[in-house]
Amino acid sequence: MRHVACMLLLSLFFQGCGTSGVEVFADLDPSVASRIDVGSSRLAGRIRVTEVKQTEVGGLLKPAISLKSMVSGTQNLQYKWSWFDASGFDVSSSQQHWSPLIVYGEQSKNIVGLAPNAGVKSFKFHIRDQQ
């Protein structure tokens, strides 16, 4: 009985050690972190977004996300971009699609996007586990 109680307490303890999902953006400014949408808290424990930057090419917004796998195994993920105009309206095409992303153990990856037209002024990056 005492043994079972100890195991129960230990399991509760380790549950509390699980990531809240906030750590994935630990080094990023909160305003920048708000541009990232991580599909689940489980995924948030396995990847870390290390850098978010943007530039313009030919008047088109070009964002880039750097992320790093925090686990040793291969992860099959999916990502997509959402685009917003100056007023904050979502102008992503209704056909906005998810793209596959394979991240190997502890690999760093850079994902670059390009806005569909010059009216886009901001973006959001979505990442999730393969469905």
Partner: protein, 198 residues
Amino acid sequence: MRTTLKLITLSSLLAASACGPATVQYGDAGSVQAVSTDFGSSDLQQIAGTLVDSMLMFPPIVEETSKRRPVLMIDRVKNKTMQHIDTESITDSIRARMIKSGKFRFIDRTTDSQAIAEVRYQQESGLTKSGGAVQFGKQLAPEFMLTANLSEIEQRNSDVRDVYYKFTMNLKNLTTGILEWSDEKEIRKTSTRSMFGR
């Protein structure tokens, strides 16, 4: 006896729950669905997105499109795979994406016969207001042509089927003959037979 009866009842209920009419529901057109190693909708979307972005970011294209909107035409994709693929849907997606960027204008040759018939009707039917009929000989000519190839390389053994697709697209200057831009998108799809399945 009672246990056997319970097991039979439970099995019957489970079997009955698997029967019934098929359900239909809408799916997500933007989702990544690798149902098989055959060329699919997700592959089409990836190709269109990647190659158009590549062209829009290419410095000489950026410079050209900063001053004006060049006129393009897109040729039929050469399907070098063993599959029947509607390559026109690939070119339609590419063209739609490029037009939406606001950087290019397109000539559509696929509707020329309908356009000619309509213009002739306007000119000859007598129904169009005087001076209002569209005239022949005023259309813009394309300055550039987009061409593309889709090829596949397949490898298989008793358990694994691995298919590699390569989509290559080129932008040719019709005046000088120079290939102004070229890029390719590679996709690999692998299916592995499970130990206890087909």
